[in-house]
Symmetry: C2
Subunit: 146 residues, 2 copies
């Protein structure tokens, strides 16, 4: 299957890593540790994914959640598949804190936007790489940042 990342996700995010079944992105908004998993599928709704892909996505979501809560300040995770604007299936995993600018509201549609400095993104990717090594996850490729 030829998989092409949606243009908007491609423009708004850094590609951190790729697995056989997904891409792992970081939204370019440093107000929030905001990660996105994009399963390589043309299906747009979670419940329509084949069961083994649902299970794989759940597994990756848990892994990403563990990474996020262990490496960032986090009072509550927000985990969501929305897709009203970008139809390509993607799962948001966001670390929320009681001091972030949207708390306790949700972050989708927020006007609070602040681009990352590139060294910060490299630092986050390095942490993710170390986390995966520690978890002995080897079937993942870390992307050169652009």
């Amino acid at each position: 299957m030829t998989f092409k990342l949606d243009n908007r996700l491609n423009n708004d995010c850094f590609k951190l890593a790729e697995t056989e079944k997904s891409l792992w992105l970081l939204l370019n908004n440093s107000h929030f540790p905001w990660f996105i998993i994009v399963p390589k599928t043309e299906v747009e709704e979670l419940y329509l994914l084949p069961l083994e892909l649902q299970a794989e996505l759940q597994k990756q979501s848990s892994l990403m959640s563990e990474f996020v809560t262990s490496h960032f300040q986090c009072d509550k995770l927000n985990v969501a598949a929305i897709g009203n604007i970008v139809k390509q299936m993607h799962l948001h995993i966001i670390a929320r804190t009681e001091t972030d600018p949207c708390w306790p509201g949700v972050v989708w549609g927020t006007e609070f936007k602040k681009e990352y400095e590139k060294n910060k993104v490299l630092e986050i990717q390095t942490k993710l790489k170390q986390f995966c090594q520690h978890k002995i996850i080897t079937d993942i490729e870390f992307a050169p940042l652009q």
Copy 2:
């Protein structure tokens, strides 16, 4: 385990049904077909649930998604675990349409609120009951509406 539904969920929702592992609620806002699954757990984050409960929740979420898309107009499902305000774990499953008052924004925090008429809630519960019968799902109890 004694499980008690969070007061806010209890006040804002109709309890439609109960399974061994969860409650199924309908938010009392007729602008959106907005269902909520509450797993019977004290854990607040999905990734901290025991794996078999994660799988069970995924299964129930898919079932509810199928019900929602087959019985309501739906251009996109929104599926999310947020919990910034109500910490008790709960999963939103919402049918969104391009003509609903929040589209394409998200519905959390919306000022568009409209209570259901009771017969409409009964009608929705009856549809859910028939759907479960059709799916030969028997380990579920439908609650008397209050």
